[in-house]
C-alpha cells in the first residue's frame, strides 16, 4: 500500500507550522500586488469591449479618440500579427495561440459581450474613458447562443466557419459549434446493463462559474526604444506571460522580462494573459509605460469562467453493490474558442471506481460566452457532481451506506484507472475509512437536515522547475524559484531547504525570481509547486551539501566519504581522525572564498511521477422549508496529501477548495439576459460564500507518501474542490427527500423543488 522512504524519520522542520516568510509584508499592506506597482511616466490603459454577444466588426474608427488631447495611443487587432493556428505549450495544457490572440483582441468578429475590440493609453483614467467613448465601432449583430445544448443543435448560429468536429468516426463536412468529441470505452456496457440488478439514470445541469479571485488582473508594461520590454504582472506564471506576449506580439522571448507581482488569487484563472500583450502594444505605440487594471465587471465579462454543462449518467449494479456498467455523457461550454476542460472531465469522471464496463463521451462546444479558463481541477468538479449524485442515488436504491458502496468499488494500488494507467501508492481507501470512522459521520442529524457524501480525484502534475540556493557569508540561505506563491508555497520551499540543509527555517529566505533571474519554471498550478519545485529545491540543497563536504574533506585531508552532513554541520567519520571538530554551515560560509568561491547551486528538472490525490467529503445541510435558504452546518474533508510539508497551508488548501465548491453548489452562476449579456457581473449578485455562510471546515489529512518526492509530498491544491458540489447536492437530497440535479441549489430553486413535491 505504501512504500517507505529512505529519509530520516525524524523531521525537524517539515511538518511543523512556522510563520510564513512573507507574513509581515502581507499583514501590513506592504506586499505589492499587480495594481500596486507604478512606473514613472506611465499612462493608463483601458479596453473597449463589445456590447454584443456575437457580431461582425464592420469598421472601427478611432480618429476622434486619437485626436483627444492626452491620448497617446490607440490599438486594435491591426496592431497585432495575424497568427496562424498553432498549438503551444506555453501554459499548462496546450493552447491554440491564434485563439489566444483573438481572445486578447478581436479580429473580424466579436464572440461574446465583453470581447476586447480596441484599447487606448492616455494620461489619466478620465481621458482614457473619454477616448473609449469616442471610438466608433460599427457592428453587424448576429444571432447568438449561450447554452451548450442549443449550441450543439444543427440550426444553432455558428461561431467559427471552419470548425469541423474532431474525434468523430466520420469527419463532418458542415461547420458547427462542436469542436471535439472525446470517447473512452471499456468492456461492453450494453451487455452489463442488461444483466444489472439495479439501474439509476439522470440528467444533470451546471452553470458557468468564475474562479472569483478577489484581485482583478493588473499589469504594467514598458516597451523601451531598443525593443526591450519589461512587464510587471500578477499571474500564475511569469514565464507563461513572457511566452504568450512574445507569441501574440511576434517578439523574441529574449526581448521580454516579466517580473511576477504578488498575486491575489488565481485558481487557474490567471494561467493565461488578457492585458499584458495589449499593454505592451500600447506602450510600443505611445513610447511610455502603460498600466492596465481590470474592473470587477471586466473580470466577469471578459476573463474565463469554467464551463456550464449538461450531463447524463447511467449506472448499473448487482444487488451486492458491484457497479458493473456506467455511461457518462458530458457536454461542456467552451466559451468563444475551443478548449473546455471536458477532456479532463472524461478522464476523472469514473477515476475513483473500478468498473469493468463503461462508455464516457465528452463534447467540447463553443458558445457566445467568455473563453473558459482553467478553474481548480478543471472539469473534474463538474463531472463529479453528476457521477457522485448518481452513485448516491444508487446507494439509496441498493439500500447501501454510501461509503460502503464506494469502498466496494474503490480503486486501489494495482487497479487500472478508468483513464488508463495503473494506480500505485494511492491513499483512497484510507481516506474513505477516515470519513467512515469520523465523529462527523456518526453524529445524529436534526430536523430539516441532510447529510451527503462525495469523493473526488485529481491527477496532479509535475513539470519543469528550476531552483537555486545561495549561501551568504553568514551561513544563511536564499532559495530562488520561479513559481508565484498563490497558497503559501514560499513557506514550504524554505522549509524543505531548511530541513535538507539542517538549519533553522528562519535562516532561509525564499525568493521568487523574474524571468531573467531564475531558470525556466512551469507556472504555479496543477498542484505542482510543492511537488516539482520542492523537488528541485531539495536537490539544490543536496548539491550545496555535496560541495560543502568536498571542501571540508580537503580541509581535514580525509576522503569525502568520511564527511557526513548532519544537523547543519559537517562531521568527520574517519576513524583515523577522531579529533576533527564539526564545522557548521556558517563557519564554512565565512571562509568560502578561500575554499573555492561562493557556495551556490542550481538544479533544473522536469518532475515526473506526481502522485494523484483522492478526497472524501461529508457535508451536513440544514434547509429552511419556508424560504429555501440552506446552511452548511458541518463539513469534514479527508484527503490523501502524501506528506503535509506545512500542515496549516495544506489545511488551508482543503478549506479553500471546499468553500469554492460550496459556493458553486449553492449560489454561484453566470446569468445571461436575452441579448447574451451577463446580468450579474459583480460580487453583489454573483454570490460567493461569505464568513457567515460557512461553519468551521474540518480537515483530515491522510499521509500515504509519494516515493517520488523527497518528503513524500503529493499535490493538494485541486482535489478539494472536486467533491463539494455533489456532497452538498447529496445532503440536499437527504434534507428535502428530492433529488435536485441542476445547480445552483439557490433558495428559489429549492423552494420550487419543495413546491413540486406538494403539488
Amino acid at each position: 500500500m505504501s512504500e517507505t522512504l529512505d529519509k530520516p524519520t525524524v523531521l525537524n522542520v517539515v511538518g511543523t507550522r512556522p510563520i510564513r516568510p512573507d507574513g509581515a509584508d502581507k499583514v501590513t499592506g506592504r506586499a505589492t500586488y499587480g495594481a500596486d506597482y507604478n512606473m514613472p511616466g506611465q499612462l493608463v490603459g483601458r479596453i473597449l469591449r463589445s456590447p454584443h454577444a456575437h457580431a461582425r466588426i464592420v469598421s472601427i474608427d478611432a480618429s476622434r479618440a486619437r485626436a483627444l488631447p492626452g491620448v497617446k495611443a490607440v490599438v486594435t487587432s491591426a496592431d497585432f500579427p495575424d497568427l496562424a493556428s498553432e498549438m503551444h505549450d506555453g501554459g499548462e495544457a496546450a493552447s491554440n495561440l491564434r485563439d489566444l490572440s483573438l481572445n486578447v483582441m478581436a479580429r473580424g468578429k466579436v464572440l461574446y459581450d465583453g470581447h476586447a475590440v480596441a484599447a487606448v493609453a492616455a494620461v489619466s483614467a478620465a481621458v482614457a474613458e473619454e477616448a473609449l467613448s469616442r471610438i466608433k465601432v460599427i457592428y453587424e449583430t448576429l444571432p447568438h447562443v449561450i447554452d451548450v445544448e442549443p449550441a450543439m443543435s444543427p440550426d444553432a448560429p455558428v461561431l467559427h466557419d471552419h470548425m469541423f468536429t474532431e474525434g468523430l468516426e466520420t469527419p463532418p463536412t458542415t461547420a458547427s459549434n462542436i469542436a471535439k468529441r472525446h470517447k473512452n470505452v471499456r468492456g461492453d456496457v450494453d451487455a452489463a446493463f442488461a444483466t444489472a440488478d439495479v439501474i439509476v439514470e439522470d440528467r444533470y445541469v451546471t452553470q458557468a462559474v468564475h474562479q472569483g479571485y478577489i484581485e482583478p488582473q493588473a499589469c504594467v508594461a514598458a516597451w523601451a526604444e531598443d525593443g526591450r520590454c519589461e512587464v510587471w504582472s500578477s499571474s500564475q506564471g511569469q514565464f507563461m506571460v513572457r511566452t504568450y506576449c512574445a507569441k501574440v506580439l511576434g517578439l523574441e522571448i529574449s526581448d521580454i522580462r516579466v517580473t511576477p507581482a504578488e498575486i491575489g488569487g488565481g485558481f487557474g484563472g490567471k494561467t493565461t494573459v488578457y492585458l499584458e500583450p495589449v499593454a505592451l502594444a500600447l506602450s510600443r505605440a505611445s513610447g511610455h509605460p502603460v498600466k492596465m487594471v481590470m474592473t470587477r465587471e471586466d473580470v466577469f465579462r471578459a476573463t474565463g469562467p469554467t464551463s456550464g454543462a449538461v450531463m447524463h449518467v447511467k449506472l448499473g449494479a448487482l444487488s451486492d453493490g458491484t457497479i458493473t456498467a456506467a455511461t457518462v455523457e458530458l457536454k461542456f461550454q467552451a466559451g468563444a474558442f475551443p478548449g473546455s476542460p471536458v477532456g479532463a472531465a472524461c478522464m476523472t469522471a469514473l477515476a475513483c471506481y473500478d468498473i469493468a464496463n463503461f462508455t464516457i463521451v465528452g463534447w467540447d462546444v463553443v458558445t457566445n460566452t467568455p473563453k473558459t479558463a482553467a478553474y481548480r481541477a478543471p472539469g473534474a468538479p463538474i463531472a463529479a457532481f453528476a457521477v457522485e449524485s448518481a452513485v448516491d442515488d444508487l446507494a439509496r436504491k441498493l439500500g447501501m451506506d454510501p461509503i460502503a458502496l464506494r469502498e466496494k468499488n474503490a480503486v486501489r494500488d494495482g487497479t487500472k484507472a478508468a483513464y488508463g494507467p495503473t494506480f500505485q501508492n494511492i491513499g483512497y481507501l484510507e481516506t474513505l475509512a477516515a470519513i467512515r470512522d469520523s465523529d462527523h459521520y456518526k453524529s445524529p442529524l436534526k430536523p430539516n437536515q441532510g447529510r451527503g457524501v462525495a469523493v473526488g480525484f485529481w491527477f496532479n502534475v509535475g513539470g519543469e522547475s528550476t531552483a537555486a540556493i545561495h549561501i551568504s557569508e553568514d551561513g544563511s540561505a536564499a532559495v530562488v524559484t520561479g513559481n508565484p506563491d498563490i497558497g503559501g508555497s514560499r513557506a514550504s520551499m524554505a522549509m524543505m531547504a531548511a530541513e535538507t540543509l539542517g538549519v533553522p527555517v528562519e535562516r532561509v529566505r525564499p525568493m521568487i525570481g523574474d524571468t531573467a533571474s531564475i531558470g525556466y519554471s512551469m507556472l504555479t498550478g496543477g498542484s505542482r509547486t510543492t511537488f516539482a519545485t520542492g523537488m528541485a529545491v531539495v536537490q539544490a540543497a543536496e548539491k550545496v551539501i555535496l560541495d560543502l563536504r568536498q571542501r571540508v574533506a580537503k580541509l581535514w585531508e580525509v576522503s569525502v566519504d568520511h564527511v557526513v552532513w548532519r544537523m547543519g554541520q559537517a562531521e568527520c567519520i574517519d576513524p583515523a581522525k577522531p579529533d576533527k571538530k564539526p564545522m557548521t554551515l556558517a563557519a564554512l560560509a565565512a571562509q568560502s572564498g578561500r575554499t573555492g568561491g561562493p557556495i551556490s547551486a542550481q538544479v533544473t528538472l522536469n518532475a515526473q511521477g506526481a502522485g494523484p490525490g483522492f478526497a472524501v467529503h461529508v457535508c451536513d445541510l440544514e434547509v429552511d422549508p419556508e424560504t429555501g435558504h440552506t446552511s452548511v452546518v458541518r463539513y469534514t474533508a479527508a484527503q490523501d496529501v502524501g506528506r503535509a510539508i506545512h500542515p496549516s497551508y495544506v489545511e488551508g488548501q482543503i478549506q479553500g477548495g471546499v468553500a469554492q465548491g460550496v459556493g458553486w453548489a449553492l449560489n454561484e452562476a453566470y446569468i445571461f439576459d436575452r441579448d447574451g449579456r451577463m446580468e450579474n457581473a459583480g460580487f453583489l449578485d454573483y454570490r460567493m460564500p461569505v464568513a457567515s455562510d460557512l461553519p468551521m471546515l474540518d480537515t483530515i489529512m491522510i499521509e500515504v507518501p509519494n516515493p517520488k518526492h523527497p518528503f513524500g509530498a503529493k499535490g493538494v491544491g485541486e482535489v478539494p474542490i472536486v467533491p463539494p458540489l455533489a456532497a452538498v447536492a447529496n445532503a440536499m437530497r437527504g434534507a428535502i427527500g428530492l433529488r435536485m440535479s441542476s445547480l445552483p441549489l439557490s433558495p428559489p430553486a429549492v423552494l420550487a423543488a419543495l413546491d413540486s413535491r406538494k403539488g
Binding site: I19, V27, G29, Y213, E262, G264, S648, D693, L697
Partner: protein
C-alpha cells in the same frame, strides 16, 4: 474641472492631496498618498478589500468620495502595526495561517479590529456576521475566524492585566 485640495489625518499624521471631485477615497489613498494596502476588489462596496476606518467607523473606501474626508480621521492597514510591533490581530493571522494569497487580508484586519474595538468578546457567529462584508476566496474563513477569536482572547487578557 479643477481639483480640490483636501487636508485630512491618516493614521494619526496630517496628510493632504489634490482630488478630482469624483475620486474615491480608495484612489486617493492608493494613487495620491501611496498607501496601497487598501485594495480594489470590486469598486462597488461588495468585497471589503478596501476597508478603512473613517472617524472611527468601518467603511468601504471605494464608496467614499475623497473630498468627503476633509478634516476627518482616516485609519488604514498601514497604521495597525505600531512602532515596529504587529498588532495582536496581525500576529494571530500569521500564527493561524489565516491568509493564503493575502489580498483580502488588509481589509479583513481593519474590519476585525473594528469588531474587537467595539465588541471585545464576540461569539463565533457574531464574528462571522461582522466579517460577512469581507470576501475571501482562498481560506474558507475557518482560520480567519480562529485568528480573530484568539486575538480577542489575548486582547481581553491584556486589558485585564
Amino acid at each position: 474641472m479643477s481639483k480640490i485640495h483636501i487636508t485630512t489625518t491618516v493614521n494619526g499624521d496630517p496628510a493632504e492631496f489634490l482630488a478630482s471631485p469624483g475620486m474615491t477615497l480608495l484612489d486617493a489613498l492608493r494613487d495620491e498618498l501611496g498607501l496601497t494596502g487598501a485594495k480594489e476588489g470590486c469598486g462597488s462596496g461588495d468585497c471589503g478589500a478596501c476597508s478603512v476606518m473613517l472617524d472611527g467607523r468601518l467603511v468601504c473606501s471605494c464608496l467614499v468620495l475623497a473630498p468627503e474626508v476633509e478634516g476627518c480621521r482616516v485609519e488604514t492597514i498601514e497604521g495597525m502595526a505600531q512602532g515596529g510591533q504587529l498588532h495582536p490581530l496581525q500576529q494571530k493571522f500569521l500564527e493561524h495561517a489565516a491568509l493564503q494569497c493575502g489580498f483580502c487580508t488588509p481589509g479583513l484586519l481593519v474590519a476585525a479590529k473594528a469588531l474587537l474595538d467595539a465588541h471585545p468578546d464576540p461569539t463565533e457567529v457574531e464574528a462571522r456576521y461582522w466579517l460577512a462584508g469581507n470576501l475571501c476566496r482562498c481560506t474558507g474563513y475557518d482560520k480567519i475566524i480562529r485568528a480573530v477569536m484568539d486575538a480577542a482572547a489575548e486582547l481581553r487578557q491584556e486589558r485585564a492585566a
